[in-house]
Every structure is written in C-alpha cells, then in structure tokens.
Amino acid sequence: MFVWKRLLGTLPSLAGVIVVTFLLSHALPGDPAAYFAGPAANAASIAEVRNKLGLDQSLPVQFLHYLADLAHGNLGNSLTTGQPVLTDLIQRLPASLELTMFALIFAVTVAIPMGVWAATRPGSLIDHACRATVSAAAAFPTFFVGLLLVYVFYFLLGLAPEPVGRLNEVLYSAPPHITGAYTIDSLLAGDWQVFRASLAQLILPSISLGLFALAPIARITRAAMLQALGSDFTRTARASGLPARKVLVTYAFRNALLPLSSVLGMVFSFLLGANVLIEQVYGWQGVGSYAVSAVLASDYAAVQGFVLMMAVLYILLNLLVDLLGTLIDPRVRFEA
C-alpha cells in the first residue's frame, strides 16, 4: 500500500520534469529551426525545417508531439554523433552509474564511521578533527580535488594509473558487455587483470566525487547519533546492562539511519551533477562528458535528453531511498 502511494507520489515530479525539459528545448530564445537548417540556410529552407520539426505549431500541440515522442523513447538525434540520443545515453550510462556508485560507497563508508565516532565523544579532539576535515572537504571544488589527486597520485607518486578514462585501452581490452560496468563485467568474465585495472582507474575519480558528499553525511550522522544516544531508550538500554556495542549499533545507530536516508536525496543531487565535472577531469566516457560536448556544440536534443535522463534517475533514486526507509523504520509506512 505504502509502495503504491509513494510510486504515485513521484508522478507530479515526473510531470514537472517533463514540462521543464520541454520548455527548455521549445519555448526559449534562439531559433532551433535556423540552427538545424545549418549555416548555409536561407529563409525558405529554415521555414521548411521549421515545418518538418513541427516548430510552426502552437506550444500545446508541440507539447503533445513531445509526449508522443517520449512515449516511444524518441529523444531525437544527436547532431554530433548522428545516432539517436537515447542509444548514446544508454550506451554511456553504465560508466557514469559505476562511478557514482563507487563514490557513494566511498562517502558512506568514510563519513558514517566519522559521524558515529564524533558523536560518541562530542567536544573531544576527535570531534573537532572530524568537523574540520569535513568542512575543508566541503570547500574544495570537485574538479579541483580531482586534478590535485591526479597530480599527487599519478604525477608525483606514480601510484595511480594514467587518467585516461575507464580502462587503458592500450594495455587492456574492455570486458564483454553484460551490465556495462567494467568492474562487474570483468568479474563475470573471470578476468582478474581487467578487473584490477578498471578498479584502479575508478579509485581516484570516485574519491574526488565522494569527498564533497562527506560533509552532509558526516554532519547528519553525528547529529542523529547524538540525539539517539541522548534519548530515553538508549539510557534504558544502558541501564539494563546491555553491552556498549549493542547499545551503539542496535539501539542508537538504527534510529539514526532514518534522518540519514533523508539527506541522501541531497547527496544524490550533488553526485549526479558533479559527475559531469569529474568525467571531464578523468576523461571518463560517461553521460556527463557526452553532455558537456553536446552543450559546447549546441547539440540541443542531446543536452535535453541528458537533463531528462538525469532527472528521472534522480527521482528513481529518491524513490528507492524512501522505500529503503520503510524497511529501516516501519513507522514511516503508517505515517503516509
């Protein structure tokens, strides 16, 4: 029941997103017809293109055409690659998702213990050190961190592989396409060398991407843990003589998870956006770098397709987090 309600709840967001992407591509200054007709076009050929693209019709009619196209999975053709935008995006999406997931794993595995640790000793040196670290991480532009890490770990120390994207194609060949994520595909193919190589390529980009997400996760974990640790049920658990570990994990941490899942929405928003910057730094062949070249080449259809896909992905991720929230805390199911 709750699941259905929550699913229905995403519909207004989806509708809003579709209207905005439509407006971005159809109702704004600049004449797409003149652009699609090319530099050598005259008034007559521009009019012809306008007619062909349906741009001479009223906005509501254009919107209906847009909806019909979306329903058929037609996002238009990319001017730069000549392929349907949807094909391009789907082909590159696994690379971006793989990077985002690794960044998220990094951020969560570092920030949550930091927040818990800081909350168990509020006001201590450790608490201040944690706060200083996350504040500093929040002030560094993602792309700058990416470049610094490349400089230190590739150029100076030689520990990291050359930042040439997902895999150094000179040395290794990509694993057979199953999921599209190189680390998973190489494992499925049992190719340890390629697995290690693609994992090595992933480390620096995912750390650079995840670093900025440390601050919100660590802060909310600390605050939620402090509240849970100071509450009556924790006191009762302690007074009943439960081991400290059980009090911390089962009683306090489980209750701190819910506020944590609410900040994940913001973290996803950031990760999906900053992906673009990190892909640019590391030559990552994902949807972000595709969108950047599309923006610079005024490839409208490709950019709008990218914006729409990211928004839909973001809505789905938020949905997933909410559904996970009901597993953590059954009360949520009844509140809705």
Partner: protein, 283 residues
Amino acid sequence: MSATTLARNVGHAFGQNRLTLVAVAILLLLLLCAAFGQQIAPYDPLMTNGGAKLLAPDAAHLFGTDALGRDILSRVIVAARLDLGMAISAVVLSFLGGLALGAVAGYFGGWSDRIIGRGMDTIMAFPLFVLAMGIVAALGNSVLNIIIATMIINLPFYCRFARGEVNVRREMGYVEAARMGGNRSLPVLVHHIIPNILPPMMVQASLNMGWAILNAAGLSFIGLGVRPPTPEWGIMVSEGASFIISGEWWTFVFPGAALVLAVFCFNLLGDGMRDLLDPRQRI
C-alpha cells in the same frame, strides 16, 4: 536586540570562534582584489609573453606563468571581480526572488502556496548542477545566463525558508496587532513580517554563497559562460589541467586555491553569522 547585547554577541561570536575573524580578513582581501584588481595586479592579466611560457613560481612571477606567458598571480587577482560578481549577483537575485515568492506563499497560502510550492518542487526534482547546465544550454552560452541558471537552482532554498518563516509569523501577536490597526495585507507583509525574517535569511544567503561560487566556477570549468582569455578561476583551472601530466602544477593550483579560499571564507562567515543571530543553533 540593544546595541550592547549586539556588541556582546559580536564579541562572543568572534571570541568563541577565531576562524570567523580569519574569514572576515579573507573577505576583505577578496573584496580588495575585486574592487582594485587591475591596480593591484603586478602585470597586465591579458598580456602574453612568448619568452616566458610556463615559468615556475619565482620572485618575478610569484605564481608562475601560464602557457601563453601570462602572469598567473595577476590573473588570479583580477578574476576575483568576475567570480565574486557572478556568485553575489546570483545569490542576491535568488534571495530577492525567493523572499518575494516565499512570502506570498507563506502569507496568503491557498492557491498561491500550492502553485509556488509545486514550481519549487519541480526545480528540486532535478540534480541541480545538471539543471543549471540545461538552462545555460537553452538560454545561450554567456556569463549572464550562468548567473540566471545559478539563481534559478538556488531559488527553492530561499523560497522554502521564507515561506516557513512567514507562515509561523502570520498568526503572531504583533502581526495580528498590525492587521487590527487597519493595515492591509501587503503593508503587513512588507513592514511587519519581512523585516523580521531578514536576519535568518541573511544567514542562509552567506551559507549559500560558497555553493554559488562553486556552481558558477564549475559551469565555467566545463567551458560554459566565460570565454578565454577572460581571467576567471574555473576556466583557469581547466586551462591549467592539461599541464598536470607534464608537472606544471602552478597553472591550476593557484586559481583552484583561490576558489577554495573564497568558498571557505563564505562558509565560515555563514557559520559565524548563524552563531551571532541564533545562538541556539550552536552545536
């Protein structure tokens, strides 16, 4: 708040947190660069010099030179005006826009609240940087459009905040009294409610500045808005990025450090202002 308690609070905020003082010093430095950058800079930020390409930092060029022999220190100093200008204009615009929309939604409620709320939800349904890219792509690649995009993606934060603050004050005694005194809705809103929500809104704005700087610099890093040879921190980092592999670190480290300094400064100022205006939020 009387003058003496204000002074005591300022003293407390600074005394409690020396970092706030540091942030004020950095802010003054940044504003100095933004106002008199051309006069302070030791060289012309646009002057190329074929004989002095990619020089490491030394006494003549404290931050070294870039691939065209331009003095990086001068470029970093002069860029302050554009970087801060973009971020401040975007923040001011979203502050005013968000305040107006949020005040209307919070005070009048009903349909206006629903429509404005739905609009803000729609903006928040996008990953914000991606939306900013889409807006710049649609409106055209210019500095003005970077400002507009940054303003739009920040709008919901101000709008929601203002809506909440107005909503709780709507039924308060002093507002009721102002209404009883014969004031119409708009004067009540403008003269009695909005002045009271300005201080917490200002805290939001200064906490938001760092994020606005990062956003604008990120857009110019991927090649939107600012065109070369204009000095701007984001584009300078991106120009310097190609020299990492050959080890010319100064080309990207100094403009990047300027960005970090600016963002750090505004984040600290925001924290300091929050401590000053709302001591209860100190944690």
